[in-house]
């Protein structure tokens, strides 16, 4: 992208991650690249199983034991992270890069008070007394909007609601002033009003604390609320990467178009939501061509055999044959074989008259 390296908080380039089981290796992430500038929010969007969580865990160095970064670079403030030892990474985690998770109900240890758990996080990275750390926790609780913070420090997680626990998680993540916050679907498990509160809080804190956010979500509503840049992932690949505005106004990839078409609209009557038919292919049975070809409404013969390259502009790259010079020469599928998301939707049907 256009940004210079001083502005880059995080650069990920050509990241390939997979799982090793016995002798078999299954690759999940296939050359994921993106940049996060300082003070910017990047949203990673995609449906379940597309590798968005795996991307975030790779940055944190928290891959499960069988997971492995095969190749690629993860640079944080210009420094390579993929070759760091567990011990070196633990100095960065929770300090310079923090993470909040999807499940606030289970992400806190039930047998310790929330205060103790955050104090622990502070005292790993900062040489402060217990008392100073406690003061910091109270301060953080105030910041994230927990009422009567001084008393709440002594609560156990089960004495708090889901929204409050997510605020505790955010307080914990931000306690050491991280430069980068990775939020893995932080609002998915919460009800809608709490979701909005948490998103507002994150937006507010981002400005106040001058940090970058990588937000992982499958919710385009969250994207429109949070994102500066958006990365759309499908089956372990980046298929579209642009700023939030052009993504919603001018989605290029058929998959992104499908995602946006499937948002319920408040205006007008919608009897049935358009859907993208089918499911993400199994990592072991990836199509040899474009990974979306099996579900794409516009797929041509060549789409099934050859992987598309990055096309489009530098500011809005998209991985799709449609935007290549060869598209006009490619062989269309015979009629009736198309398998897209729009053909089945009620939107395209004759309106029911009565």
């Amino acid at each position: 992208m256009k940004s210079t390296s001083e502005e880059n908080q995080l650069q990920v380039h050509g990241l390939e991650v997979g799982f090793k089981n016995k002798k078999k290796y299954t690759q999940i992430l296939n050359g994921v690249s993106f940049n996060v500038n300082k003070g910017e929010t990047l949203c990673i969007v995609g449906e379940s199983g597309c590798g968005k969580s795996l991307t975030s865990l790779s940055i944190m160095g928290l891959l499960p034991e069988s997971g492995e970064v095969r190749s690629g670079e993860i640079r944080f403030e210009g420094q390579e992270l993929t070759n760091r030892s567990m011990k070196e990474m633990s100095k960065i985690r929770g300090n310079e890069i923090s993470m909040i998770f999807q499940e606030p109900m289970t992400s806190l240890n039930p047998v310790h008070t929330v205060g103790k758990q955050i104090i622990e996080a502070i005292r790993i990275h900062r040489n402060v007394s217990k008392k100073e750390a406690t003061e910091r926790v109270v301060e953080m609780f105030e910041l994230v909007g927990i009422p009567s913070p001084r008393e709440r420090v002594h609560n156990y997680p089960h004495e708090m609601s889901g929204g409050m626990r997510q605020r505790v998680m955010i307080a914990m993540a931000l306690a050491c002033d991280p430069k980068l916050l990775i939020a893995d679907e932080p609002t998915t498990a919460l009800d809608v009003t709490i979701q909005a509160q948490i998103l507002d809080l994150l937006n507010e804190l981002k400005g106040d604390l001058d940090m970058s956010i990588v937000m992982i979500t499958h919710d385009l509503g969250v994207v429109s609320e949070m994102a500066d840049q958006v990365l759309v992932m499908y089956a372990g690949e980046v298929i579209e990467y642009t700023d939030s505005k052009s993504l919603f106004e001018n989605p290029k990839h058929p998959y992104t178009q499908g995602l946006i078409a499937s948002i319920p609209k408040l205006q007008g009557k919608t009897e049935e939501l358009p859907v993208i038919k089918g499911a993400v292919p199994n990592p072991d049975e990836m199509p040899s061509g474009c990974r979306f070809s099996t579900r794409c409404a516009f797929a041509k013969q060549e789409c099934f055999d050859q992987s598309p390259q990055e096309e489009g502009t530098e500011a809005h790259p998209v991985r799709c044959w449609m935007y290549s010079a060869e598209w006009q020469q490619m062989t269309p599928l015979k009629g009736g074989e198309s398998n897209g998301y729009t053909t089945d939707g009620a939107v395209d049907r004759e309106p029911i008259r009565n």
Binding site: M60, L62, M86, K87, S90, K91, I92, R93, G94, N95, S98, M99, F101, E103, T106, S107, L108, N109, P110, V111, H112, Q117, E120, A121, I124, H125, Y156, H158, M169, M172, A173
Partner: protein
Amino acid sequence: MLSFLLRRAGLMIVILFFVSIIVFSLVNVLPGDPALMILGQEATDESLEALREDMGLNDPLVMQYFAWVGDLLQGDFGQSFRDNTEVSSLLAEKIPITLQLTVMSFAIAVLIAIPAGVISATRKGTLWDSSATLFALSGVSLPPFWLGILLIFIFAVTLGWFPPSGYVPITENVAQSLWYMLLPAVALGVRLSAELTRMLRSSLLEVLGSDYIRTGYAKGLLERAVVYGHALRNSILPVITVSALQFAAFLGGTVITEEIFNIPGLGQLLVTSIQTRDFPVLQGAVMFMALAVILINFLTDVLYSILDPRIKLTGGSQ
């Protein structure tokens, strides 16, 4: 907490009441005549009858029961039929011996089980894990009496490092006492440690996969701090349940081991009292064990609520 204590105390009285009835009935349906056991086969009918009358064995059972319970409530466990020693002093003499054996074997079991369980859970699938699993499996399948005999053969008879049997009171000589008790404690402890290792491994594996463990790593903790600071306390509850049950069982169930190593503990007292139809001793010993089980269960519940703040001790039934 107070209502919990009151409720537990009430429950304890009820349980002890039923236990006392069962103990008393069981003892009285045992075949065999204590008078005959005392006086021997050559005793005359008159002398037997006189002794029975004297011991109160001719009274109706209900009368005998209430006489016994009445005495119990005043702290009087009665006298042994054999030599008229106070049952309470017999118990006071034997209980510390068995308690020492139990505590020592538990110490050994825990010292083995916690590291072994932690290693095999955190190094799952490695040689460490396989070795710990092998140990656990063989430990569970080794009967303590067989292990006891094996230990005597190797360490006492062949190598001569330990005394083969016997007992020295801990009040007399602490080192000697521990020395004498070590082999039997190992014989009992190995099996328990094997059981606890398996339990801890599976429980720890489950906890290590939970979200708050990931949170621990995410805030920058190293593995040791995560395992010992966060995982262990959450995974120890099932281990404590098993331990508590075993502890209670050990107090009365170390009969065979005590027999093999010739330790004059509660187990031996129990066996002798059954063999000689020494009812007061038998009843007293069994009542003590019932009390011990109840107390240990109570302590376990308290320990639970300390370890896991989600568990609240309340008077209500849950």
